[in-house]
Symmetry: C2
Subunit: 507 residues, 2 copies
Amino acid sequence: VGPEVLSLWKSKSTFTSFGVFFLQMGWGDLGAFGEPSKETPNLDQMASEGMLFLDFYTANPLCSPSRAALLTGRLPVRNGFYTTNAHARNAYTPQDIVGGIPDSELLLPELLKKAGYVNKIIGKWHLGHRPQFHPLKHGFDEWFGSPNCHFGPFDNRALPNIPVYRDWEMIGRYYEDFKIDLKTGEANLTQIYLQEALDFISKQQASQQPFFLYWAIDATHAPVYASKQFLGTSQRGLYGDAVREIDDSIGKILKHLQKLGISENTFVFFTSDNGAALISAPKQGGSNGRFLCGKQTTFEGGMREPAIAWWPGHIPAGGVSHQLGNVMDLFTTSLSLAGLEPPSDRQIDGIDLLPAILQGKLIDRPIFYYRGNEMMAVRVGLYKAHYWTWSNSWEEYGKGIDFCPGQNVSGVTTHTQEEHTTLPLLFHLGRDPGEKYPLSFASDEYQRAMERISVTVQQHKATMVPGQPQLNVCDKAVMNWSPPGCEKLGKCLKPPKSDPKKCFWPH
Amino acid sequence: VGPEVLSLWKSKSTFTSFGVFFLQMGWGDLGAFGEPSKETPNLDQMASEGMLFLDFYTANPLCSPSRAALLTGRLPVRNGFYTTNAHARNAYTPQDIVGGIPDSELLLPELLKKAGYVNKIIGKWHLGHRPQFHPLKHGFDEWFGSPNCHFGPFDNRALPNIPVYRDWEMIGRYYEDFKIDLKTGEANLTQIYLQEALDFISKQQASQQPFFLYWAIDATHAPVYASKQFLGTSQRGLYGDAVREIDDSIGKILKHLQKLGISENTFVFFTSDNGAALISAPKQGGSNGRFLCGKQTTFEGGMREPAIAWWPGHIPAGGVSHQLGNVMDLFTTSLSLAGLEPPSDRQIDGIDLLPAILQGKLIDRPIFYYRGNEMMAVRVGLYKAHYWTWSNSWEEYGKGIDFCPGQNVSGVTTHTQEEHTTLPLLFHLGRDPGEKYPLSFASDEYQRAMERISVTVQQHKATMVPGQPQLNVCDKAVMNWSPPGCEKLGKCLKPPKSDPKKCFWPH
């Protein structure tokens, strides 16, 4: 949750990988993707110097599972980042979650470490906040950021404020030591995270060590914030201010790489972990362009993401790719750049994108859209078949929670879970990227497309071995009461008695 | 209706104007504006070499009035291109329309002629097809194209097929001499119109005469067509094939100007006469990006248009402008480029865009959104106030005619004409380009914005002198039965007895 940068750099070698993940930055938030205010000059320039992916997806319409998928190269249903508490539910890692990234999963930084990389995460981890899930126990060498979203402020009684870590220890808490002013929207966190990135890159360049930098800041996640210098500068309000600051920061990071002379050794990828959260619109919500609905849904607005690959001297400038891509591909692609093989003892869902990026090839592969352990939809070529449709429940909708504001496609944006497994709803995303016009079941086109899709789905389901679900159990006792380092700061809080329960996932 | 190019070129002078008007090409149809298939490399390149306008509007959500506005620099309610047969109705020039462009109106080519320009229209005229409305009687020196849309085929009994003119005379009819295959979607008309443009430019360059070329082709208007070489080449279906062919043609025209060495003397503008027609979607309909609704409506999807200015050596490459622009500005801007003053004996609504284009200035001016003689909405700065809302009637909607498919904003996309004149619905188009979140009437922001808007509207209404409505009377006797030149071709048809009636305008 938050922009994240993967950065791999190998001295005297030919590459680096360095990917940005923006939490909730939607497909339509970039000027290059048609945002009418066109306020992302640095990202637009990154695209014009690199390659724009138009058909790139995240692995889940929610942040934690997408982040777990990016770092493991595996679908959340395999790596355990899902729930079985109810049918087809989105789940993440709130403060009371008991689970987190299993030790059995192999994370990208763990693998890169063996090839001599120094790995740093800046920003939101979101793969579990209990000690065994700490990023430095899963391959990262350095961490500056928080384990959870910057929700708050809390009273440190019912809920503790979210800690900010430097490496192994907490160095303060949001709203206490790291200010976020919810009234004005002011917080200088993005500037801090930017400086962390610049310093890390300088250090690595000086020591000639290859690096992987995962820049996972979360200024565009509600509650949205920006630094004083960016407040009020966007046509789009506070959300736009945050986007502008992130855009500016990315421009500075890329320029820093160029100034240090390592841009041609640094592979940089920018993308997002889920579609824009339309429930936060218009004040704190982004744009998914013309795609249907947003975060939390398996419509295009929930899972199609802006994506840019940048690697001067290697990727032809101004390239455009229709390769169906997925955040999980960054795992496999990064390993490929590092000269490593992906693990062979488990199913890896990511593919190596280098043939698409460097040679313009198109690799035929499906995209799966999950909620929990239910495959809601699949894309094969330009066709997308919905096996289940659901936006959210009538009950939630009645409370004003709307994942598709202003949009209503009869029989598609349903408020009850609708099963279409015997006769999936089929859309042609070229003619109908907004998923408004299901193909006629009786048409030849439907028959032909579904024949191919059915085979893909059968193969997928036949070989699917779900991991142990990590997001089923919640317990207030596990919250961030006393993170390591709290003693030095006098910030340890007393946890309540353990009372594990099934987590409640409403959508 | 159809793409149109304004081209002014003056030998040994510094300029030319040359604008493309795409009928029903929506804001979201260009790669540069975020169309997910990104299939307009030539228009995208035109934008990267020129200036992209993000806040550019047409004068009406329908073709004829927009075209009349472009050529007169005046709102349709002033130049007569509207109806008073019913409240707030869109009207155009079907075959049985009695009216057309009044002699009292001064058209851009009439004015340019006095400065030595040779003026040509290629494509659809749409300002009336009776003899007194012929384009060569209104300033054009040459014409190749048709007076009406390429609807058909007709049986030449109830309705005649639409004639195609070369200059003064008909040289054939659509579906007869100029084939359009509705089954396959094949027609080579765009190629013919392209060749006409290339030939005209070559001739003008050879004779060193300044020119104004108005390229108004209509391949993206239903029934959509494309040449054989483009059929099936787009991800988007037949509509996308047509877009690709137009994009390719524009690329060829721009390259032709460069090859002839006159690109630095040629000011070229690309825009559209109304938003994409969503009733034709998905097979024949374009995209208005994330804007609300489409053609026929005064929401952003009906009137915000893609727009690009191109003038190598003068306009800085890669420029982006938030100037509120309007097709009527092309009238005033072209006159300015030609060293001419706009007429002083009448109200001109267009402004000179050169300060915005050449010096990056932002000129404060409102945008008015009309249906018939009703001002439905106004934009001032980033605020848009709706004084009336209407998509279309329940009766039409019940028949499946939907100008906002998949979109439904409660109280905004209304199926009855809703008056809001005492308390207009107000939107902030920066935070909410999709017009989904009306501002609270009680908010300070609403009060402040409406104070300014009210003054603008009062001034506008106080000085408004509507022209004689031209689109009220229809008569089957005036259809294209016997256009000049029909005798030579043996294609004269016998008109029925005159029976003038009020035209029926359903929306």
